[in-house]
Symmetry: C2
Subunit: 150 residues, 2 copies
């Protein structure tokens, strides 16, 4: 952690990604909140990934808008992983998440960093700049799902 800007970024993420707990009227709301945020994030990220992979025609404005949405949405799910919400709804979260919350939050922070890089790359309008950033995001998704999702 040598770079003061990176430290500032991490502090900003830590303070925005961990809102006060007990924000949810009932456990089902917390589950629905994080699932809704993940769905919206994946829809937006999926568009950018589809373009990067040549599965959709590249549209620079749509890629930049979608990546910006995904960057914002990547801040939302984490405060909704309230302890005890591993039952209810159709959640696939493993109870392990609360035994190793630090590891989970490391993934959450990493995702936000990589999504920020993807959004910056998408703003350039250069699809070749987007490709590695898509890969980095996908890698964090997979690592976290492998560890914490049934």
């Amino acid at each position: 952690m040598k770079h003061p800007l990176m430290l500032a970024t991490l502090i900003a993420i830590a303070t925005t990604s961990l809102p006060a707990t007990a924000q949810f009227a009932k456990p089902e709301d917390a589950i629905k909140y994080r699932q809704s945020a993940m769905f919206l994030m994946m829809q937006n990220f999926g568009r950018v990934a589809g373009m990067a992979q040549g599965k959709m025609p590249f549209d620079a404005k749509l890629a930049a808008d979608s990546a910006a949405n995904a960057e914002f949405l990547a801040r939302l799910p984490w405060g909704a992983y309230v302890e005890g919400t591993d039952k209810g709804g159709n959640t696939k979260v493993k109870a392990d998440i609360w035994k190793d919350k630090a590891k989970f939050m490391d993934y959450a922070d990493k995702l936000q960093l990589e999504m920020g890089k993807l959004s910056a790359a998408a703003k350039t309008g250069n699809v070749d700049a987007i490709k590695p950033a898509v890969g980095a995001v996908g890698s964090v998704c997979k690592s976290c799902h492998d560890a914490f999702r049934e």
Copy 2:
């Protein structure tokens, strides 16, 4: 429309709230997208409204963060009201929405303007500034739901 800044705001909203259509792999995705965005928006707006109404203790940072989230989320649902998605999932949208899309989009624009004012009010940290802005948002929600939701 006398104020150039207001015009700039409206142009910015128009260009961000109407992404290219055909962004969704299937109709159910469009329905889930707008419902997810509405749910997240209402969870965030609901916190601010609860504080403004004295139902929750006032927490200035939480109010500002939640209002900023709601402001961002208020941009997302509209592109997902793709024609023909009045059936499927558990959507309550009336088919009238596509007969009077201009009126619907007026509400969408109005909501984004009022949510922006709420977010600005919440940044002041003064709950008395938040109260009228909450009322204005709630009024747009109700008008649009009365017109276009079963």
